[in-house]
């Protein structure tokens, strides 16, 4: 059956480009470009693949800022049909994010499945899928490495800590995906150009007052390693073997 799919997209700073100050350990986030978070790309790819297979529509939601247009255009180029940017993202507070996005989802009629990444590459909090399932009172199929539709249900494969499973849930439901589920596509230039002309719906988040944590510090950890580097392989092996031998039990 054709699927009405919602995909949740996060925009973050490009962490690979982010440096920390070598003296103070303070992260330097200014001037670092924004990008679509890695797992969100996997979620978009999974959503678009489902649409291509079964027909239907993909709606993207970003809880972000005025600067999130570029991320939505990238999502459009990958195959998202309609996009909503909710501005007012105040930073990492999963409970608040879940509140804002679940309110938006409730306004979308007749959706079958909500897809999102299982952990985002900046915070690794990993609790948004559960929060969304709780807020919307929908079944959650977490950590999918494959998704298919099966006579009115969604069926996924997943790897848990010590076991692999195939599980299903009736629609509507929530599916979180892992990075292994797919290789996100690189859209062709024509699609990127078309995406640039497509309208984006932007609305202001109605924030609620939720206590955010107080950040006491956020610094690069100091490395106290000895850093004795040998370029002489023979001498290095000798020294290293001595060290290792002392630790074998």
């Amino acid at each position: 059956m054709a699927l009405n799919i919602i995909v949740l997209i996060k925009q973050i700073i490009d962490i690979d480009q982010m440096r920390t100050d070598p003296g103070t350990g303070i992260p330097v986030t200014q001037g670092i470009p924004l990008k679509v978070e890695t797992l969100s790309k996997n979620a978009i790819e999974a959503a678009v693949k489902l649409k291509e297979k079964y027909g239907g529509k993909v709606t993207g939601i970003i809880f972000g800022t005025e600067k999130s247009n570029a991320a939505m255009k990238e999502a459009y180029a990958m195959g998202v049909d309609e996009g909503f940017i909710i501005t007012g993202y105040p930073g990492n507070n999963p409970s608040l994010t879940a509140h804002v996005i679940s309110e938006k989802i409730k306004s979308i009629q007749g959706f079958n499945v909500v897809i999102l990444g299982n952990q985002s590459a900046d915070s690794y909090t990993g609790v948004l899928p559960g929060l969304m399932a709780g807020k919307l009172s929908l079944p959650l199929l977490g950590n999918a490495v494959s998704i298919e539709e099966d006579s009115g249900s969604i069926k996924i494969r997943r790897a848990l800590e010590d076991r692999d499973q195939i599980v299903s849930a009736p629609m509507p439901c929530i599916v979180s995906v892992t990075q292994e589920i797919n290789q996100p596509r690189l859209p062709p230039v024509l699609q990127i150009m078309a995406a640039g002309r497509k309208p984006i719906n932007t609305e202001q988040a109605s924030l609620i007052d939720l206590p955010a944590g107080k950040v006491l510090s956020n610094l690069a950890p100091k490395s106290e390693r000895k850093r004795l580097i040998f370029e002489d392989v023979e001498k290095g092996s000798e020294e290293v073997a001595k060290i290792i031998r002392g630790e074998i039990k």
């Binding site: 982010m18 920390t20 999963p94 409970s95 879940a98 952990q119 590459a121 900046d122 915070s123 690794y124 909090t125 990993g126 609790v127 948004l128 899928p129 559960g130 969304m132 399932a133 709780g134 079944p139 959650l140 977490g142 069926k155 848990l160 800590e161 010590d162 076991r163 692999d164 499973q165 195939i166 599980v167 299903s168 849930a169 979180s176 990075q179 292994e180 206590p211 944590g213 950040v215 006491l216 510090s217 956020n218 690069a220 950890p221 390693r225 000895k226 850093r227 004795l228 580097i229 040998f230 370029e231 392989v233 290095g236 092996s237 290293v240 073997a241 060290i243 290792i244 074998i248 039990k249």
Partner: protein, 296 residues
């Protein structure tokens, strides 16, 4: 204080309970299959969940267990655990402090430490959170002589259905408790090359592990052996990194190691900034040398 601890992996319950039992009364919840791993965790009460488990019905069972009677709910950050923490948070309105690898509780506030910015920083936060997800392997479990009072709860039915299940690698590897780890990266070049590394694993009586690309992208090793921010956090006496460039996500998984040895042919590889002893050169030449010298 009173704590509820849950994990679908018994070992993780014992790790967290060991840390908490000196601070108050611990009631541990886990799946029935995990009973043996939790019996010596020093919990006052052990609740075994019987039946097919999903994030939904486990959350329902925990919510029925009068959560308001506990000061804190600690959940190990496994794939299932994170989902459950989220559902419970949404249903009770209690906030989550997530991915903690260390914490202290003081005057109704909890201070937690976690990695942030993909492992580039450590964030210390103070929150009024009542739910905490704990990174597995963060605490050393120790056995307690006190046996818990046992109770079994049958899990409620659920809209999710289990169609197929397969245990991975029976007996399992446990790199989290290994004393010496020999860890391989993309630099080993192929799955076949692992054979050339095993003599070093044997000689050190160590465990074999790998980086994310080796375990997840190329599948040269199983994912139980993946060290990193998204894999296992390890703290052996010696961590030997072979052909691992030293991406920050990898470093975050092995930062707790006592001694780090790195072998890489690229002398500018970031791993050399995070090691105690480094050898610049071809690992296939160096590994046999190490094995030979260790055998002497």
């Amino acid at each position: 204080m009173k704590f509820l601890v849950f994990s679908d992996v018994g070992k993780n319950v014992s790790e967290i309970a060991t840390k908490l039992r000196d601070l108050g009364e611990v009631h541990s919840f886990t799946l029935k299959s995990q009973r043996d791993a939790v019996m010596k965790s020093g919990s006052k009460k052990l609740v075994l969940l019987d039946g097919t488990s999903f994030s939904g019905n486990v959350s329902e069972a925990l919510l029925k267990s009068d959560l308001s009677g506990y000061d804190y709910v600690f959940i190990a950050s496994t794939p299932l655990g994170r989902d459950i923490a989220g559902i419970i948070s949404a249903k009770t309105g209690n906030m989550i402090a997530s991915e903690a690898f260390d914490f202290t509780i003081d005057n109704g506030k909890i201070r937690t430490k976690r990695f942030f910015f993909g492992g580039k920083t450590i964030m210390e936060e103070e929150t009024g959170a009542k739910i905490v997800t704990v990174s597995p392997g963060s605490f050393e479990p120790s056995e307690s002589p006190d046996s818990p009072a046992e109770e079994t709860i049958t899990l409620p039915g659920s809209p999710e259905k289990l169609l197929e299940e397969k245990d991975r690698e029976a007996g399992g590897t446990n790199i989290e408790s290994a004393g010496i780890i020999v860890s391989v990266g993309r630099g080993i070049g192929s799955k076949e090359a692992i054979e050339k590394i095993t003599p070093l694993v044997t000689a050190t009586r160590g465990e074999l592990a790998g980086s994310r690309p080796v375990c997840l992208d190329y599948r040269w090793l199983s994912e139980e052996r993946q060290v990193g921010l998204s894999g296992k956090k390890v703290k052996p006496r010696v961590y030997i990194a072979l052909g691992i460039s030293g991406q920050i996500q990898h470093i975050a998984g092995m930062r707790g190691s006592k001694i780090v040895v790195a072998v890489n042919k690229d002398k500018d590889a970031p791993i050399f900034q995070e090691c105690d002893y480094g050898i610049v050169g071809d690992l296939f030449q160096i590994v046999p040398k190490l094995v030979e010298k260790l055998k002497k």
